[in-house]
């Protein structure tokens, strides 16, 4: 029995990847929840808006690389993020002005807006494919690892290596900073509170003199920041493929609903709930049991509950279970 190796194994294959993936989902889920809370519709274009933002970041990365600008050990994409965010915000405001605004003005029911967002999804998808194509692209440059598995083994003398990718550390750090800033903004500033008020009771917000146009604009600005950064972090950690981003919409929606849709803190935690469940259920525990069980009881199969191909089934099941038994989400309480 060798518990230390077993723990390192779990850290390396479950804990760190799930924390990273969860952060990426959390950013998307807060985006979904914010749009739902304030503009009152389920935005099916979430995944593709994230892929649009990432595409812009890749284009800027290529441009900076062609100019010979780089951040040394850090990926050039970090430098491209602010420019990509600006493009993303402009794209969102453009779509809002020419598509969503009309339905908001006519007070269309939320399901109609959701259908409209599916149209936006298809258009965005097409725009991304026309500009950058459907291929898988890696745009990570700079130092890939902070600790390599081999180095870790040499350092500690353990059998199991703990690899720490710089994209993982970046994802977690940036998410923590971004989410803290967002919660500070929503809970402490006058504008943030007026967004909460607008989400809580639109008519009374109008009677209090809160300007709905400004609220909608700020919502899209925040959404643009979240979508771009969430998308770029996912792309740096894995790779950028428009279809994958579209697929990620399922775990992102699941995360937002698990957290209680309209509740950003719930969405944030929901991201981790979904990520950990997916990875826990699709990890093959054979090696883990080889460490913790005596040699005579060594498992023969892979001890994998679900094949990784079924990872979307996990988020889908969580989504269905939550909607059946706890439709208001597992973190009830304050909205927005």
């Amino acid at each position: 029995m060798d518990f230390l190796n077993a723990i390192i194994l779990l850290l390396n294959y479950i804990f760190i990847p799930a924390l990273t993936y969860g952060s990426q989902l959390a950013l998307g889920a807060i985006f979904v929840t914010l749009i739902y809370g304030i503009l009152r519709f389920a935005n099916f274009a979430t995944g593709d808006m994230m892929s649009f933002g990432t595409m812009m970041a890749i284009l800027f990365t290529w441009y900076f690389q062609s100019l010979g600008i780089s951040l040394g050990v850090l990926p050039t994409a970090l430098l491209a993020i602010p420019f990509a965010v600006i493009c993303m915000i402009f794209y969102m405001l453009f779509i809002d002005k020419f598509v969503f605004k009309y339905y908001r003005f006519n007070k269309s029911p939320p399901v109609m807006l959701a259908m409209v967002s599916i149209g936006v999804m298809f258009v965005t998808q097409a725009v991304v494919r026309i500009i950058i194509g459907p291929d898988d692209r890696r745009f990570f440059d700079g130092e890939r690892f902070i600790i390599k598995a081999g180095e870790f083994k040499d350092m500690t003398g353990l059998n199991e290596g703990l690899a720490l990718k710089s994209s993982q550390v970046m994802t977690i750090l940036i998410t923590v900073v971004l989410v803290s800033l967002l919660f500070w903004f929503l809970n402490k500033t006058k504008t943030g509170k007026s967004m909460k008020a607008y989400s809580d009771n639109e008519d009374l917000a109008l009677l209090s003199g809160i300007d709905p146009k400004r609220i909608v604009m700020i919502t899209w600005v925040i959404a643009g920041i979240l979508a771009t950064i969430g998308g770029v972090l996912y792309g740096l950690d894995k790779s950028f493929k428009p279809f994958t981003y579209f697929n990620n919409m399922l775990p992102i929606f699941a995360a937002a609903i698990v957290g209680g849709i309209g509740n950003p803190f719930g969405a944030f935690l929901g991201g981790y709930v979904i990520a950990f469940s997916e990875i826990f259920l699709t990890y093959a525990y054979k090696k883990f049991f080889m460490y913790v069980l005596p040699a005579s009881m060594e498992p023969e199969s892979l001890i994998q509950l679900l094949s990784t191909d079924y990872k979307f089934a996990v988020s889908f099941s969580i989504l269905v279970i939550v909607l059946l038994y706890r439709p208001s989400g597992i973190f009830k309480g304050k909205v927005l």
Partner: protein, 235 residues
Amino acid sequence: MAYFEGENMTGGYGNGPDIINSCSVKVERGEIVSILGPNGAGKSTAMKAMLGLLNLKSGSVKIDGKDITMMSPQDRVKEGISFVPQTKNVFAGMTVEENLEMGAFLVLDNYKSIIDEIYSLFPILKEKRNQLVGELSGGQRQQVALGRALMIRPSVLMLDEPTAGVSPIVMDELFDHIVKVKRTNVAILMVEQNAKQALNISDRGYVLVTGENRYSGTGQELLNDPRVRSSFLGG
């Protein structure tokens, strides 16, 4: 000429039929005026017309001599007209203090002193300042709603059935609060179902029937008027 007045207002919602017909309502500062009448008489509609929530076909609305007939409700808030709707009149997911802050959204300078004034008017709110409004009792919620509306230091306060759905004891307490607000030189216009109690604290009242002024007079006059008594006050 009264401080806040709607003169010969005629109109309805959207393109629908007229709900109020040349209806006139006047309020002075430091005065409570009640609009009474049977169901469907257009009481709330008359009030909403003065707030700008429906387009008038004819007639005018004036505050302090200034014609505001064409102004949007948001702009009327800036003129010092505050409104407490009958339902959904608080931000249920926010704390008491945040509700008051939102009421002061248009107040650019320091509103902390106004919050203190509201707390001295409604002491219970100070005690519950950090509690979510959704967790308060009906009477306390109405106080939050009044407090939110008072944050802009309005010159006109309009209340749509402030005592709907609260117990008789809480109703008396709320009316006491409304009288306190009136003493701060605010013009108060309210629509009420509890006609007797409302007339008791009102300086004047209007009785509307099918969108028209039927009777008007001081609170006591209306209370003693046999026609009003028999039709609306239950004998």
